[in-house]
């Protein structure tokens, strides 16, 4: 059963005078199934488009264009996937996306935690200025920077390279800000104690702080991986060689094509989108397990 009922029940007999208490307990008990009903309805609302996409990937052309729309394919087919694999070099694009996303994620985990830690826990001259810069970087509307960035990267010879796809995103301001917020919950006493023991700053960061912020790191991993995986405009502009295309760029060659938006192309687009989304959902499903009591239990005891 839930922790809640387990906690309140021993208390109740000890407190017979309060008339409100038994009533509260009853609602407490009755609430759990109700919560599941609410959560399930919400789940349906939240996940419906995803289900639609997943189911549509297996539909025939007739089902895709049926009116009124059908949810469950009347005949399941893999045609959308086979024609997709036929027309696009999916393994190559998948590999490109993966390389870029992993490099971006790893560098963000490292660099953003470093600066996040410094901003949250190290008192240094100019800290507020660095933080202001991070915030400013966060607020710059990115769309318009694309053109000058392209010219710059071209000058550096980074067009059509993995470096060109990774470096501009290797230390995102969002990540720094996120880590700073989470690092604030790390108790200062721990750091001070370690310093008194003569531990070096890198040691404190790497061995004490990092293990304490695992939920934050899991969050950052999810966000960065997702961001990189779905990133579209920059890889589109920064790659001219199809061998360096990432998945979304490759898929975009179909989307909004006047010859394809209507009818059959939709199925291929859905199949492609499903293939793009699944790895991210898998990463999320694995990492969300790390949302467990981290700082509190480890930090205080």
């Amino acid at each position: 059963m839930t922790a809640e009922t387990a906690e309140t029940s021993p208390k109740a007999p000890a407190d017979p005078v309060h008339p409100a208490r038994p009533a509260r307990r009853r609602t407490g008990r009755g609430r759990t199934p109700l919560l599941y009903v609410i959560a399930s309805v919400a789940l349906l609302v939240m996940a419906a488009p995803f289900l639609w996409m997943a189911l549509s990937a297996f539909k025939t052309k007739q089902d895709l264009t049926a009116n009124p729309p059908v949810w469950i394919p009347s005949r399941w087919t893999l045609d959308n996937f086979t024609s997709l694999l036929d027309q696009l070099d999916m393994p190559q694009y998948f590999l490109n996306s993966l390389i870029v996303a992993v490099l971006v994620t790893v560098s963000n985990l490292l660099f953003c935690s470093m600066l996040g830690y410094a901003l949250a826990k190290l008192d240094f001259t100019g800290r507020s200025k660095v933080f202001a810069l991070v915030l400013a970087a966060l607020m710059v509307p990115g769309n318009l920077m694309i053109l000058p960035l392209y010219v710059l990267m071209n000058g550096l010879g980074l067009i059509d390279t993995y470096a060109g796809l990774v470096l501009p995103f290797a230390a995102g301001a969002f990540g720094v800000f996120l880590m700073r917020q989470f690092m604030q919950s790390v108790p200062d006493e721990l750091l001070e104690a370690a310093r008194l023991d003569g531990a070096g700053e890198w040691y404190i960061f790497w061995r004490i702080v990092i293990p304490l912020v695992k939920p934050a790191l899991a969050t950052l991993t999810i966000f960065t991986f997702l961001g990189s995986w779905n990133n579209f405009i920059w890889p589109l502009i920064a790659t001219n060689d199809p061998d360096k295309y990432t998945l979304p760029v490759a898929l975009a060659t179909f989307a909004n094509d006047p010859n394809r938006t209507v009818g059959g192309g939709n199925g291929m687009l859905m199949a492609g989108s499903l293939l793009v989304v699944l790895p991210v959902l898998a990463v999320f499903a694995v990492l969300q397990r790390h949302f467990t009591q981290g700082i509190a239990t480890a930090g205080l005891k």
Binding site: N67, V151, N154, G155, I237, A252, N256, P258
Partner: protein
């Protein structure tokens, strides 16, 4: 700091900003056509993918060449082309949609076509005009596109319509008949507003004898003919014959299939699409030329192939373009894509010569009017979009809306 130095310093910074590598110098003589080399080609959407197959075939007969085709999505192509132009990184050969050509020609990044291998008389006049800007031709016509009337023949019988509407007056009475007698929800599908509404208005505008920019290159969107056309267009919404709100990405073929929409103006690719997606609809629909007003004039669209001014492989690129836009290449391309050939010689054999449906396209193409090649075309047409929307939504009269558009467009025409 006076104005000149201010301008100078800003410009200098920008220049260093934007020309880190942009000035590579335009390739000079470049590489000979038969030397070993790699040609890069960018093409959009389906064309981009299908062109890859053609490139493989082409390599077989040109063993010195590697032809690398990069497909680009339509909705992002413009941004990518602009970035490439800014960095001097355009490919040797690039597909140019009609609406881009004026802009890129004006930037000076395109090489004029070689008049020795590409001849104006081989192509539909509208196709040729689309590749031209300011008296020079930069794009070799590759494929064309126009709009004709798609209508439901089975419902027409029910509605007592005996033949395809031949005039604009017929069109409206047909729409009414479909709605009243055949139970169609709407009479005709035309776009009420939003981006590129102008594409569905062109049929009305051109047929009435109007234009956005007249033959002398002047803005003419508030001419009497244009006002009459827009009044006619707007009347479909006033009378409830056309839907007042249509979402972006609306798929008209779905409603055509159910009969909710019995008539619409559509492009050539829809023929196959309807056949494939709605096999039950076979023999229940047909295409007809745009109903005549002063004349029957449709819009011409399509793409041309241009060579980058910076290319080092111009000689080989010219040969490739000449092949793709020549009779043989055009026939082959039609078989692969069903894109309508721009080269009229390709229309003399096979389906293109015999099929009655194809003849409707051919006939419409002969008189179709090209969108003007203007560097600010997108902006110009967006003003017309706004004018049309204000009329279909009943916010303004056709005359007022077009007068306003006219004054805005006058400042944009070059």
């Amino acid at each position: 700091m006076n104005r000149a130095t201010a301008t100078g310093s800003i410009a200098l910074t920008l220049a260093s900003a934007l020309t880190l590598t942009a000035c590579g110098g335009s390739g000079g003589a470049g590489v000979a056509a038969d030397a070993k080399q790699t040609l890069t080609v960018w093409a959009m959407g389906t064309e981009g993918e299908k062109l890859g197959d053609v490139a493989e075939e082409y390599e077989k007969t040109h063993s010195n060449l590697t032809v690398k085709v990069t497909p680009i999505g339509w909705d992002v192509a413009h941004q990518k082309l602009v970035a490439a132009a800014a960095a001097g990184k355009l490919p040797d050969v690039v597909q140019m949609g009609g609406s881009y050509l004026g802009e890129f020609a004006d930037m000076g990044v395109l090489e004029p076509v070689d008049s020795k291998t590409i001849h104006e008389t081989d192509y539909f006049p509208a196709a040729w005009q689309q590749g031209s800007y300011d008296g020079k031709t930069y794009g070799a016509p590759w494929y064309v596109d126009t709009r004709v009337l798609f209508y439901r023949t089975d419902l027409a019988k029910k509605a007592g319509i005996e033949k395809a509407p031949a005039t604009m007056a017929d069109l409206q009475s047909a729409a009414e008949a479909y709605q009243k007698k055949a139970g169609s929800k709407w009479g005709l599908s035309i776009q009420p507003g939003g981006l590129d509404t102008v594409q569905s208005f062109y049929q009305f505008l051109y047929s009435a004898g109007g234009a956005i920019i007249d033959d002398d290159g002047k803005a003419a969107v508030n001419s009497a003919a244009a006002v009459k056309a827009l009044e006619n267009y707007g009347s479909y919404f006033d009378k409830g014959l056309s839907e007042k709100s249509v979402r972006p990405g609306y798929d008209v073929t779905k409603d055509f299939n159910t009969g909710a929409v019995p008539m619409f103006f559509g492009g050539p690719w829809l023929t196959n699409l309807i056949d494939e997606n709605y096999p039950d609809l076979k023999d229940k629909w047909a295409v007809a030329p745009v109903p005549a007003d002063a004349a029957s004039v449709s819009m011409a669209g399509g793409s041309s192939l241009a060579i980058s001014a910076d290319s080092d492989h111009k000689a080989a690129a010219k040969e490739l373009v000449a092949y793709l836009t020549g009779e043989k290449g055009q026939t082959d391309w039609f078989e692969r894509t069903n894109d309508l050939p721009a080269n009229t010689a390709a229309w003399t054999s096979g389906d293109l010569a015999d099929d009655p449906t194809m003849q409707v396209w051919r006939q419409q193409m002969d008189t179709a009017r090209a969108t003007p090649s203007q560097p600010k075309l997108t902006e110009i047409t967006s003003k017309v979009d706004t004018a049309i929307e204000s009329v279909t939504q009943g916010k303004s009269s056709a005359k007022e809306a077009l007068d306003k558009a006219q004054s805005e467009i006058e400042g944009l025409v070059q």
